[in-house]
Every structure is written in structure tokens, then in C-alpha cells.
Symmetry: C2
Subunit: 313 residues, 2 copies
Amino acid sequence: MNQIYCFGADVGGTSVKLGLFTNDGALLENWEINTRKEEYGRYILEDVGKAILSKMQERKILKEQVAGIGLGVPGPVKEDGTVNGCVNLGWGVFNVANALSEITGLLVVAANDANAAALGELWQGGGKGFESVVMVTLGTGVGGGIVINRKIVTGADGAAGEFGHMTVNLDETEICTCGKKGCLEQFASATGIVRVAKKKCNEFNANSVLKQEEEITAKSVLDGAKIGDELCLQIMNIVGEYLGISLGCVGTVINPSAFVIGGGVSKAGEFLIELLEKKYRKFAFHASIDTAFRLAALGNNAGIYGCAKMILG
Amino acid sequence: MNQIYCFGADVGGTSVKLGLFTNDGALLENWEINTRKEEYGRYILEDVGKAILSKMQERKILKEQVAGIGLGVPGPVKEDGTVNGCVNLGWGVFNVANALSEITGLLVVAANDANAAALGELWQGGGKGFESVVMVTLGTGVGGGIVINRKIVTGADGAAGEFGHMTVNLDETEICTCGKKGCLEQFASATGIVRVAKKKCNEFNANSVLKQEEEITAKSVLDGAKIGDELCLQIMNIVGEYLGISLGCVGTVINPSAFVIGGGVSKAGEFLIELLEKKYRKFAFHASIDTAFRLAALGNNAGIYGCAKMILG
């Protein structure tokens, strides 16, 4: 019998990551194309479709051999494939799954990119072996996705997993990018860590590695904390406390098998995981206190893995 | 063809509620038996089994006509039916679904009682017409359940939906029943409302209906707030703020179609729903801000409805 394949396409603000998978889950090839955002992003899906069809031609793969395309997009996506506006692609409200399906003649299933990444990590990454994971991505912002019993939790408006906008501090006076105040993202994203660091730096009288930095970065704070720099440890204690409150609430509510931590900040590795585990256990309800913590393992490929898994089921 | 039936059995600390349903979801009869807690609750499932078998005899229902029994228990239950200890029944760790199945010779599916109630409300109660609801029960404690795509979210340890133990106040000095500090339950349960009221009452210098009460109750606070008593309004504003933070976080994370509010405190009706909606929209992420709010409609029968629905699928 002929080999069956599927594609994963993870649309980002600057590039679209593409992956060709066999139906037993092996990634045969991955590549990228530019995201053409001109004219409200009207060429993006066309480009994705062309890239996939020409890959099929190149490899002499017939349509009957393709189970489908999993599509990840950077915005809320409902279960039926309707995108509810993707600001950074210029998209309004339309059904992306139907649109790409018309272009390619293939089955398309769509999801939010962070949700797809969570499914990818559960399938082949840091969450492997678990039935339900909450993936939290600590990058420029804080995002994530929820997978329960190996299925993505999409949310009624396609907006589940927006961990960055949980309110964690009622006294915050600065406004978050979302318009609220005191969101987790204001403390635990890379930019949030820098914000906390700058405040603490002014109050801290002793010496610190941060005082030699021209420009404080999340990496310099984490590197400093790892070598025991007191100021950096204090900063990460504050960041950890807010993450502990939020993940404690998430664990108490959803009770997943594991948390998978990804994004640029997670490059701090085991130091971060140990901090989060400790802070989580401080705030979690006793019945869900043993939830595992893992580092994400697929990096930028988590999305295409998750997209493929949406097709393979 | 013969009529097909199913049973719902909702085990509580003092009584077991039982319901006989047709397979198209009509409740034919409901009744109660005592919960015999002696000898670590060893007679409870036997009593439930006997009650169901004798009801079948009474109504001349054959085993082949019974699709199964849905069983709700007041503690964490894993998807396979394993109870992880039910303190107020005296139960340790064992598979309740298998145990009741052996006694009755019928299929048994088990779930936590609050989770079953959430499913019942989605099916036939306040959440009717929605695909996913978060039910929050404001009673002596604060509990609840999550139903996504018409399926209960059980949690890896059977502990999903423990909304009462989300941390909402880092400055709280009193200890919650769970051992943590600053849990939602300390502010938003009936006892929590009284606790907040007693504190505010001492600080409040003007007149108030509460100052005439011998014993402040959650009902007296809510009744006072409804007629515009300033002290009661201030108390409910604090309670509402904590509920707003928590439900805002839950909405931002899970993005359900609706919140269904139940428990004794929910007898305050539309006043409470309006307060919660207002506070929710203050703390929810913009993408999930339109989540509906509904009052629970099935009262103490929510559990047996949900138990039946677990069998009817």
C-alpha cells in the first residue's frame, strides 16, 4: 500500500513553518516560506497552498496519499476553523480551514498556534507520555495551550490558554498590552522580567551583575540568578511567585498531568523548572499538588508537530 | 421494543439521591436513602445497589433494559472510577465504579459529584444550549465542575474544578480549610461572606440592617445588598471582586460558553448574576469577555441528572 502523509503549517508573523510527516508521525522534511502580509494578508494561505502542492509534486505524492493539512495561526480559532481576527497578519473574520481546503483540495483542520504547539509537545516533546498538559510559553509575551485527553481545548471563542492575561496583581498601575492591569505577562514574560528587574535594581543597594549591564535582559537576570547573584535571585523570586499563583490556580482548576514550559525564558532550563515547581506547590490545592513540570523539547517545531497531530488524531 | 432506562445516584454525606431516567432523558422518579457512614462507609454502595435493584423489581425493569448507573461521589474520582479518598464518607482509595458494578451486575460510570452536577446543568438546567460550561457552586464551600464539548473535565487526579482553592489574596492571614491562605472560598462561600461581613461591620460607622442581626448570615448580607444597604453593598463588592478575579482567570484560561452559578448563595438570583457579570468583565481577557452567566436551575437534582447523562452520553 502507498505511504500516507500529512502536512503541518504554522503561520507566524514573519514566516510560515511547514512540515511533511508520515502518518506514523515521522517528520520527513521541514522548511519555511515568508509570510506575505500585504493587502491584509490575502496571499498567505495561497502561498501555503502552493508550497504544499509543489512539495507534493516534487516528491511525487498524490492527493489520495495526503490525510490533510493541520494549520496553526497566531490568533483565536474556533473549532470549525473560523478565525476571529488575526491582528498581526491583517486577517479579519473568516474560515481559514475552508479557505485553505478550497485552494488545495485537501482536508484542513485549523487551530491557534499556541494550542497546536501544546499538542505537539504532548505528542512528541516535553509532554510525551502524558494524557493532558498545560503548556505555558514564556517569550516576549506569555501564552500557551491546554490539551486534555490528547485533544486541544479550543474555547468557545477560540481563546482558551491565554495564561498571560490572568490577573495576578491588583496593585499594578502600569497597563498591559491587553488594556488590563496586573496581568501575569507584565511579570513573567521576557519583557516582564526586565520590567521587574529595572524596578528592583533601583531599590537594591549592594553589588550585582546587573549593575554592569548596559541593557538588562531576561537572560542576564536568569544567568545571574543561576550563579547566585542576590539581586537576580530576588527578581526571579518575584517572577516565580506570580507564576506560582497563576499555575497554582490553573492546576487547581484543570488538574493536568503536567505543565510543559516553553518559550525563550525556558532556555534557563532546570533552574526555572525547579523554581516553578517550588512556587506551584505553594499555591496549588493539595489534590493536584503533584502535577509534573517539564521543559518544552521541540522549540520552534512544536507548532508543525501539533498541526500534524490534529490530522493524525 | 422495550423502554431503556438508566439510574443516577448522587452520594452525599447524609443522603444518597437516586433518580430513574428513561434513555431519552426524562426523570421518572427520584428518591433518597440514608448514607450509612459506619465502618468506613462500607455499606454505602451496597445500599445504593439494593435501592436500584429493588426499584427495578418494583417497576418490573429487566437488567437488559438498564443502560447503566451514573454514580456521583463527594471526592476526587479518576476517569477509570478510582476514588482517591472521600474523607466525609470514610472511604480510602478504591474503584467505586467496579465495586457498584459487581454488586448490581450493571455498567457503572463514576464522577465527582460537583462535576456531575455541572454536566447535569449543561444538559437540562441553567447551561442548556451551551457546549461548554463552568459551574461554580457557592455554598458552605466553593466548588464546581467543568464541562467541555459536553464531557466532564475530570483532571489527572480527579480533582479538576476546585475553584474554591484558587489563591486570590496574598495578604490573607487566616488559614483556609485546605491549609493554604487567601483561597476564594475564604471570601465567596456562605461562610466566607459572613467572615468578610464581620470584619467590615466593625469598621462601618453608619447604620445598617446587619447591625440589627443577632447572627449575620450570607442571606442577610445579600438581602441587605438587594435593598441598597450601604454596608451590605460594600461587603458584596469585596466578595464580587474576588469572584471576578477568579472567574476572570478561569474564563481567560478555559474560555467556556457560559458560567453557571449554583449553591445556596445563588438564591440571591439576578442580583448576584449581575454583580458577577460586571466583575468578570473587569478581569477577563478581551477575547473571552462575552462569556454568558446563568443561574443553576436544577438545585439538588443537578447531580442525578449529570449522573444519568454520563450513561446516556
